[in-house]
């Protein structure tokens, strides 16, 4: 909503209040000022009167004008098409500096002397109104040649743009904003000084017959007028340009100006369009679905009240007889109806859906006032109306409740004053209660808390003293908080291992999901309105979007890219779960003197050890079902405490190539498999552990995980743990490999003799011989 200071001043006295203060006040009462700017016309630009205008002898498009600028008559060459004798125009005299910093000098144009410049509105810093030079008229004040344009306050207006909240339809007009300012500044709202005793003697019934069928929940008043002559004065053109309201014809401009002033929804019908050549136009207001009302003629719909109007019935430029309709429909009726019936709407619907001004008479008066002042029209006597009476809402406000909600006491007299100025009708005040009707133009006020909000905003929230709350202490360590803290620990561990946290959109490209063999969300549960075509799905895992970040960094010559993310992923049924991804692309460590600037590339072993530093120890099993993102022979399931908790793999070389990535490894972990562990300490064995290595030769096709599970449970309890420490292959071994395992033997009650240890190791070898045909190397 755009307002101007001068336009507001027609409704509220702003004497002695700066525009800055107006903005501050608007902000403090809940009308947020988006921007405010002032039009400043430089000095030495004056009113000029074109005394004569002749063609330039040497240039088709130029005119030579004699212009009276008060103190003298100047010859000025002008290139505008609309310059003509008798016009009053802005003249930048020699020495003036235009808003674009151009300095006006004496000039010779194609051999003809020119002393100054006749200006367009744009050259003065005004918004675009029409092509050519600005034609001045007395709507902005008396025109005296030589008078500085900067003295015309309607030209040098201040323009304030307000960001209205959705409930404040009542402020979609100059009058509505002025009404708020009057309350905020404690001034009186002006009334329209209009004597409507100028109607012609012919009654409206001679040309218009209005009937209705059913009981639409709307209000309509119809008038009619004859146009003798009509022009749009500068003041109106200027202000409509300030508030960015375009118009197609003079009647359209007057309607727009009256609507923006009053907030009443006004529509014009061309009489010829709805009368079909007969002397009388017949309109029927008909109830349609959901309480709406349609205005019909010849069973054709001319408009739906508050919603739209057919192009066919709008007056043409040369239409001489106009039927005027002022209407109101409650937003509580029109908004759900439009949504339900999926109706087309026009720009005025914005007003009716947010609450237009219900005082229809006021809007009509504003329009007729303007027509009388600036145009030559004849208005038919009387009107035709259909009014849906609205029961006022009565509220009972207890000052005690006001105090408890705000947190401090408000004097009842102060509350009464505020509500009165806001348009409430106060019925009575007694025993700390105020009984009042809400204002008809505030459809958004329906209950006590709404009313308290009105009191608060006028008092000013900044005037409420803040106070700490007294509340009952309780254990509020919710599951989510415990979870958050645990995940934060994991995130910090990842950070300390050099990983950078990232955040990606949960959206992803369904084409990519399918390309990598994942199942997208079932179409029946898919997104209706993705924001872009390549964000039409929900990610099935975190790696799929991480690829883009890896690629972006690689393209920026990053040679070591360690990233991680914890976020939501979705299966084909759109079930949500939390995952963690750790991804590492490129060089294992930063290049430095330590590695002579040539760090090793990341490999499976070092990446796995980074992952375990983040999520704790785990076992790796060959991945049963590697996805297309994974290297089929370097991919594993992460088994944590017996449960498959995720996967770890080298990025498939084909994918790496597609995304221009060096060797890349990633691990995806199901967050629900990570739980803070409760640890019970075991007794520390008093004896020194003994290390024994065993090198065997077995078939290369034997995965270590099988050897591991064979040994687990089959070896004596004194063998506390074992793990592989070397794997070796050469030609002499053929299809076999040499595998070295290290065993840690912890004697329990007594120290072990060498022979006892040897016997343990022999037993182990025997198991491996039997199961895997292993032999000692």
């Amino acid at each position: 909503m755009i307002v101007t200071r001068r336009w507001l001043e027609e409704w509220v006295d702003l004497e002695g209040i700066t525009t800055d203060d107006i903005c501050k006040k608007l902000n403090s009462i809940g009308l947020e000022v988006d921007s405010s700017k002032s039009i400043e016309i430089p000095s030495k630009i004056v009113v000029g009167h074109v005394l004569s205008c002749e063609k330039h002898p040497d240039a088709d498009k130029l005119s030579v004008c004699q212009v009276d600028i008060g103190s003298a008559t100047r010859q000025i060459v002008c290139g505008a098409k609309n310059v003509r004798e008798g016009l009053y125009v802005p003249v930048a005299t020699v020495g003036a500096v235009m808003p674009n910093a151009m300095k006006i000098k004496h000039a010779k144009l194609r051999g003809v002397e020119s002393d100054g410049m006749i200006c367009s509105g744009k050259e003065l810093g005004l918004p675009l109104m029409e092509e050519g030079i600005l034609e001045l008229d007395e709507s902005i004040g008396a025109l005296e040649p030589g008078r500085e344009l900067a003295e015309y306050r309607d030209l040098c207006d201040d323009i304030i743009e307000i960001e209205l909240t959705a409930n404040r339809g009542d402020c979609l007009s100059i009058h509505g904003v002025a009404r708020e300012l009057a309350v905020g500044l404690n001034r009186t709202l002006k009334r329209l000084d209009f004597d409507d005793n100028f109607t012609e003697q012919i009654g409206i019934g001679r040309i218009l017959q209005c009937t209705h069928s059913g009981n639409p929940k709307v209000s309509i008043i119809c008038h009619a007028f004859e146009i003798h002559s009509i022009e749009v004065p500068l003041l109106m053109r200027l202000r409509l340009a300030f508030v960015e309201h375009p118009f197609v014809s003079p009647v359209d401009a007057y309607l727009g100006y009256a609507i923006h002033t009053s907030g009443v929804v006004l529509r014009g019908y061309g009489f010829s369009k709805i009368s079909h050549g007969s002397e009388k136009a017949k309109l029927v207001l008909k109830e349609i679905d959901c309480g709406l009302g349609a205005v019909e003629f010849d069973t054709k719909v001319a408009s739906i009240v508050g919603v739209n109007q057919s192009e066919e019935v709008k007056p043409e430029r040369d239409e001489k007889r106009i039927v005027l309709e002022a209407s109101y429909i409650s937003p509580d009726i029109v908004a759900p109806a439009v949504k339900k019936l999926k109706l087309e709407t026009d720009p005025l619907y914005y007003r009716s859906s947010r609450g237009s001004e219900p005082d229809l008479k006021f809007g009509i008066d504003v329009l007729f006032f303007l027509l009388k002042r600036y145009a030559d029209v004849g208005i038919y006597a009387g009107e035709s109306e259909y009014i849906t009476e609205k029961e006022p809402i009565t509220v009972d406000i207890s000052m005690e409740e006001v105090e408890s909600l705000i947190g401090q006491a408000v004097e009842i007299s102060e509350a009464v004053t505020i509500l009165g100025k806001l348009g409430f009708e106060i019925h009575k005040t007694e025993d700390g209660h105020i009984i009042a009707d809400t204002p008809p133009f505030r459809h958004d006020i329906t209950n006590r808390q709404d009313v308290i909000e009105e009191i608060v905003r006028i008092i000013g929230i900044d005037n409420i003293a803040s106070k700490p709350l007294e509340f009952t202490e309780a254990n509020r360590m919710s599951r989510s908080l415990v979870r958050h803290r645990f995940l934060r620990e994991i995130r910090l561990k990842a950070v300390s291992r050099g990983f950078f946290e990232t955040v990606h959109y949960i959206f992803c490209d369904n084409k990519r999901v399918e390309e990598f063999g994942f199942e997208p969300v079932r179409p029946e549960k898919g997104l209706i309105n993705p924001i872009t075509a390549d964000m039409d799905g929900l990610r099935p895992n975190l790696m799929i979007n991480m690829l883009d970040s890896l690629k972006r960094n690689a393209s920026m010559s990053k040679r070591r890219i360690p990233l991680f993310e914890i976020g939501a992923v979705f299966d084909s049924e759109r079930n949500e779960s939390m995952q963690m991804v750790l991804a590492f692309s490129g060089e294992r460590e930063p290049d430095s003197v330590v590695n002579a600037g040539k760090p090793e590339p990341i490999d499976f072993a070092s990446f796995s050890s980074m992952v375990s530093a983040v999520i704790g120890d785990f076992d790796l099993e060959k991945c049963a079902n590697p996805s297309l993102l994974m290297h089929p022979y370097q991919s594993a399931d992460i088994v944590k405490d017996g449960i498959t908790a995720g996967e770890i793999a080298k990025l498939h070389p084909a994918v790496a190539q597609k995304y221009d990535l060096a060797d890349t490894f990633f691990a995806q972990i199901d967050i629900s498999a990570l739980e803070p562990k409760h640890i019970c300490a075991e007794e520390i064995a008093p004896l020194t552990p003994i290390y024994r290595d065993l090198s065997i030769v077995v078939s290369q096709s034997t995965p270590y995980s099988r050897i591991r599970s064979t040994l687990e449970g089959n070896i004596p309890v004194v063998v506390e743990s074992f793990y592989p420490i070397d794997r070796y292959i050469d030609d002499s071994l053929g299809e076999d490999m040499s595998l070295t395992l290290r065993f840690i033997i912890v004697p329990r009650e007594k120290a072990l003799e060498e022979s006892e240890i040897n016997s343990i190791m022999e037993d182990i070898l025997k198991i491996l011989q039997e199961k895997y045909d292993a032999r000692l190397r």
Partner: protein
């Protein structure tokens, strides 16, 4: 002879030489042993005198030797230390550790503030239904406020939550008052330009207790304290505003941290930055969850906005691009 021995000890250049001297003097067959051996040839009256002299000499020599040895050991240690010298400046670590994402880190800080003030943390699903996301929050389907929230819908009528407020509804429907909670998390709106991403993060708070217990003054107190904790000594301003789920509602501004309120590009020359929305919970919301005779406040904020202001991050979209040139700055 005595001086000769002392000189030999003193003149040893290193521990090896000293050891050779020690053997030659103190050894079993050393010169000192020899001198003691000659004692048996001395006369009876001279014997005690020579013995005394020899013992005194031995003591002097031992002292000299011990001192010299300590000196040479120290010398050897110093030499070793020198040998091990490195140019430490070559090893200034670079690109060592990683970093938390600035938005996630900011969210952590916000959560920490409120949990320290005894708020619970609650979470909920990203895929929501119209009841929890809109209707229970006093937003019927024709409500003009829904214009502000362009929503991602699914074909089965579900939607991606447009704010974390549905978590408040879910919590109120599960628990009895008093409730004191925040709900942090990702939210989604169909908006994608310089200053909007289709996904961003919010933290919303809710306090509900018996009727008359929770007031706007309490809401002001906690938000002022919170903003001072996050932004330091800024001015805080409350502007009346409108949200369907709170009443009275307010938007909260802080004085611009870039120009200190003088007016700059970031604050659109107003001197203020909008950072929070808040209000007293609308009675219709309490009605929707079946609460009676309660009072409460609620507030909500965008985490990206906080992170961008606190860390002066110029580009919102860069936060979702995993760009190390940005992330490495937070190491």
């Amino acid at each position: 002879m005595q001086n000769n021995w002392i000189d030999r000890i003193e003149n040893s250049l290193n521990l090896d030489e000293l050891e050779a001297v020690r053997v030659s003097i103190f050894g079993k067959k050393g010169e000192l042993a020899k001198a003691f051996a000659q004692l048996k040839d001395a006369s009876a009256e001279e014997k005690p005198k020579i013995a005394k002299e020899l013992n005194a000499l031995k003591q002097t020599l031992t002292k000299t030797y011990d001192r010299k040895r300590a000196e040479l050991e120290e010398q050897r240690l110093q030499e070793r230390l020198k040998r091990e010298a490195i140019d430490v400046s070559l090893y200034s670590p670079r690109a060592g550790g990683g970093a938390l994402h600035p938005v996630m880190h900011t969210m952590d800080r916000i959560i920490e503030y409120f949990t320290d003030l005894n708020f619970a943390v609650e979470t909920g699903p990203l895929v929501e239904d119209e009841f929890h996301n809109f209707e229970a929050l006093n937003l019927p389907d024709y409500h003009p406020a829904r214009d502000m929230q362009d929503t991602f819908y699914f074909k089965d009528g579900k939607l991606l939550r447009t704010h974390t407020s549905p978590v408040q509804i879910r919590t109120m429907m599960k628990q009895k008052p008093p409730i004191r909670m925040i709900s942090p998390g990702a939210v989604f709106r169909r908006d994608f330009d310089l200053t909007h991403t289709p996904q961003f993060h919010q933290v919303e708070g809710l306090m509900v207790d018996e009727k008359g217990k929770v007031s706007f003054a309490n809401l002001k107190w906690i938000l002022e304290d919170f903003l001072h904790t996050m932004f330091g000594g800024v001015d805080v301003r409350f502007r009346p505003s409108f949200f369907p789920f709170t009443e009275p509602s307010a938007e909260v501004d802080i004085s611009c941290i870039f120009c200190e309120g003088k007016g700059c590009r970031v604050c659109s020359h107003t001197g203020w930055l909008e950072v929070l929305g808040c209000g007293m919970v609308d009675p219709n919301v309490f009605k929707a969850v079946g609460y009676e005779d309660v009072s409460g406040y609620a507030f909500g904020l965008g985490v990206e906005r906080f992170a961008m202001l606190i860390h002066r991050i110029p580009d919102l979209r860069s936060l979702f691009e995993g760009d190390l040139r940005l992330l490495e700055q937070f190491r």
